[in-house]
Amino acid sequence: MLAGLWLLLGAIWLAVYPLLAGGGRVPPSAEGVAELEAEKDRLIRDLHELDLDRATGKLSEEDYRALEARLKRRAVATLEEIDAARPRSGAERTAT
């Protein structure tokens, strides 16, 4: 019985501890970069799929080239945005 009560008190302590301890361990949000990273991953996967679609005969060479060029342009732009955003999020971290 007593052990059970201690367990429940421990559950409450688990939740309120970060408030009492001061300073959280959660890093400052880098959501802008995270979204760009997701976009980069998505574009890389799209490029793989494009290769597979060409290999399995779903795309003509002409369509493949056009779509590949479009995806690569977007991928390069995304990488540049990530590079530009990273120092900013680092600066935010220092400020916090």
């Binding site: 970060p18 408030l19 995270a34 793989h48 990488l79």
Partner: protein, 671 residues
């Protein structure tokens, strides 16, 4: 104080923590305060501790025959084997709610732990939504369906678990179904978080892909198990009766299948953002509805709804869920506009759109048919039921169209497909379709549904084989390996795509099994010892009945000997069981001889001790085995798709310059 009072206290503490997290998560997200966010997210873990503790205590109550607990007295008895006492925990409304909460606690803990850094902005809001859902279920258990409610006295024995539920499939079915139901809370919570923060790009969709696939997998397993249980336990010879409870479990499956496909369109093309928010809200709402319908018996009568508060509580919660989602989507409607337009009707996104319309259409038809008696009784006072003919007539054509799309969708590229590509990709599968259709008619099939299943099923299989062959051939050329290594490599490097194809193959098998129900042969006979009867290709000899005892029942067991031509005779023993402690219920335990192309299914309807005569119903059910095989193949395909490495894991290792030359990362994953 009884130790079981601690269970009630644990639920109260859990409720407090859930409410705390539900409020603090949003405050933390709004203020971007990491300390508050950490506390809100940790409240999820604290609640999980409370719920797990309460569940453990209730299980101990069952194992220790603690009949002072009203819920234990209603659902267990001393004679029940320990295994069934453990499964009886979720045999009623109160325990089901606790199981729901336990699974939600597990999912929430895992989701918050995994995404607290990866989706640092969304995670506190998602934790808050998950805690709000948890608060609802804990609130139901604290104020209405109390699993730890005590009686004023201790009964000498309990009423026992419904004998129909004393079956190994039924023991595994509810947890699997609940893993399927509850898992949708996570994509729903992150969808709401994305709406609140206005981050409605592909990020949340990519993060939630596996969180949608996992509950979809469990819903598939749960429905298969439930169907199998109905087939072997209910004793009517079928595997699906369009019962409200069955329908409640299959509705989220169809809408969930639509979501699993449509998120790919948002991920790849930035389209269908609003639709995806609508779908995930619909699936989550259907899981809540399904949980409620399963346990309340509400569909039986509108009066059952009025006689208890719980109906209004669930209805209120559903209204809040749907209302909140609509309000948030309205608020963020500018951000939910598509980034691209449909470029061509001959594109994969177009095929996916049709597939979504069909899946949601089937889901809606089932919802309408299921709730029509309830709606008609509420509106007109007269209960008008729609039976299996309604569901079969509406869903038959829709499901056939869906089967056809299973073959079409994967054969078309994203964005657009040229006429030449279409001709090249569809020539062989269309020839296979025509040959299979003509062969089916020539072999005597006349029902349009069966002919369509054969023709379209062969078409889908042909498209999959063609896809595998072309991919394997391309890999053999690029890697210089043999066909086996190339095939395994192709699937291994593209698990998401080929896992999906394996699922489609499983669906074809399930269709074949379902179509077999059109050709059932049934014979009901009274037999005395020595009597012989023929049904389908089988000759059935009755040799008399034994009376046997089980752990908590007695059974009359008919001894049948089955011959099929010159093959080895086989024994079958259909039973009727009498459970003296469980509301004096009688159940039938059917005997099944399962073969690849037909099942012989024997039901003992009644037994006359004086003359040793039995009334036996014999059915020959074609192709049923393929439903279970197809289900297994679907599960395998989902596991393959789920085993895809986390997005970004590989690409992060690749330097940015690789995108220019794109040699390394693309060779690693694609062809």
């Amino acid at each position: 104080m009884s130790v079981y009072r601690l269970g009630e206290i644990a639920l109260w503490v859990g409720l407090g923590l859930a409410l705390y997290g539900a409020v603090l998560g949003h405050v933390a997200g709004r203020r971007r305060d990491p300390r508050l966010a950490e506390s809100a997210m940790r409240s999820v873990f604290g609640t999980a501790v409370c719920v797990a503790f309460a569940y453990l205590l209730l299980t101990l109550g069952f194992l220790n025959d603690e009949f002072r607990l009203s819920y234990v007295a209603d659902n267990a008895s001393r004679a029940m084997p320990a295994w069934y006492k453990m499964t009886a925990v979720w045999g009623g409304m109160e325990g089901s709610m606790l199981l729901w909460a336990l699974i939600l606690a597990g999912y929430s803990t895992a989701a918050v732990w995994i995404h607290r850094r990866r989706q640092a902005e969304l995670a506190p809001h998602a934790a808050a939504v998950l805690q709000a859902i948890m608060a609802f279920f804990l609130g139901v258990m604290v104020f209405s369906s109390r699993p730890f409610a005590m009686l004023d006295f201790t009964p000498p024995d309990g009423l026992g678990l419904n004998p129909l539920l004393q079956n190994r499939w039924m023991a595994a079915h509810p947890p699997s179904l609940y893993l399927g139901y509850v898992g949708w809370s996570v994509p729903f919570a992150f969808a709401m978080a994305a709406l609140i923060r206005g981050r409605l790009g592909a990020d949340w969709i990519v993060a939630m892909r596996k969180w949608a696939l996992v509950p979809f997998l469990f819903l598939t397993i749960g429905n298969l198990m439930g169907s199998h249980w109905a087939y072997i336990e209910l004793g009517w010879g079928g595997f699906w009766g369009w019962d409200p409870v069955e329908n409640s479990a299959i509705m989220p499956w169809f809408v969930g299948a639509a979501f699993v496909h449509s998120i790919m369109i948002q991920e790849k093309r930035g389209m269908l953002k609003m639709w995806n928010i609508g779908l995930v809200t619909a699936v989550f709402s259907l899981t809540i509805l399904g949980t409620f319908v399963t346990r309340s018996g509400i569909i039986e009568s509108v009066h059952a709804f009025a006689s208890t508060d719980i109906g209004f509580i669930f209805l209120g919660f559903l209204a809040i869920v749907i209302g909140t989602a609509i309000a948030l989507a309205w608020w963020r409607s500018d951000l939910l506009k598509s980034e691209n337009r449909l470029e061509s009707y001959t594109s994969r996104e177009s095929a996916f759109l049709f597939n979504n319309l069909l899946l949601v259409g089937i889901g809606f038809a089932i919802w309408w048919g299921t709730f029509f008696p309830f709606i008609s009784e509420a509106v007109t006072g007269e209960r008008i039921s729609v039976g299996p003919p309604f569901f079969n007539q509406v869903n038959g054509p829709l499901s056939i169209a869906l089967l056809l799309l299973l073959g079409i969708g994967p054969m078309i590229a994203w964005r657009r497909a040229s006429r030449r590509n279409l001709e090249r990709n569809f020539r062989m599968p269309l020839v296979a379709l025509a040959v299979a259709g003509i062969a089916a008619v020539m072999l005597g099939l006349r029902q349009w549904y069966a002919v369509s299943v054969v023709a379209f099923g062969v078409f889908v299989v042909a498209t999959i084989v063609q896809e595998l062959w072309r991919g394997t051939r391309a890999r053999m050329r690029s890697k210089g390996v043999g066909p086996g290594a190339a095939l395994l490599g192709l699937i291994g490097k593209n698990r998401r795509r080929y896992g999906g194809y394996v699922v489609h193959l499983g669906v074809v098998f399930v269709f074949a099994g379902v179509a077999g129900a059109l050709f059932v042969t049934e014979r009901a006979v009274r037999m005395r010892p020595g009597d012989e009867v023929e049904v389908g290709p089988f000759t059935v000899l009755y040799r008399g009945t034994d009376v046997e005892g089980g752990p908590n029942y007695t059974a009359t067991v008919a001894n049948l000997t089955i011959r099929d031509g010159d093959g080895e005779p086989r024994r079958m023993r259909p039973e009727r069981r009498f459970y003296p402690t469980a509301q004096e219920q009688v159940t039938t335990e059917v005997a099944i001889w399962s073969r690849p192309f037909e099942d012989l299914y024997a039901i003992q309807e009644s037994y006359e001790p004086g003359s040793d005569a039995v009334d036996i119903t014999l059915l020959v059910n074609p192709m049923v085995l393929w439903i279970w095989i197809g289900g297994g193949v679907m599960v395998l395909g989902m596991l393959i798709a789920l085993s895809t490495p986390r997005p970004g894991r590989k690409s992060r290792r690749a330097p940015p310059g690789d995108l220019e030359g794109h040699a390394e990362p693309r060779a690693e994953v694609g062809i």
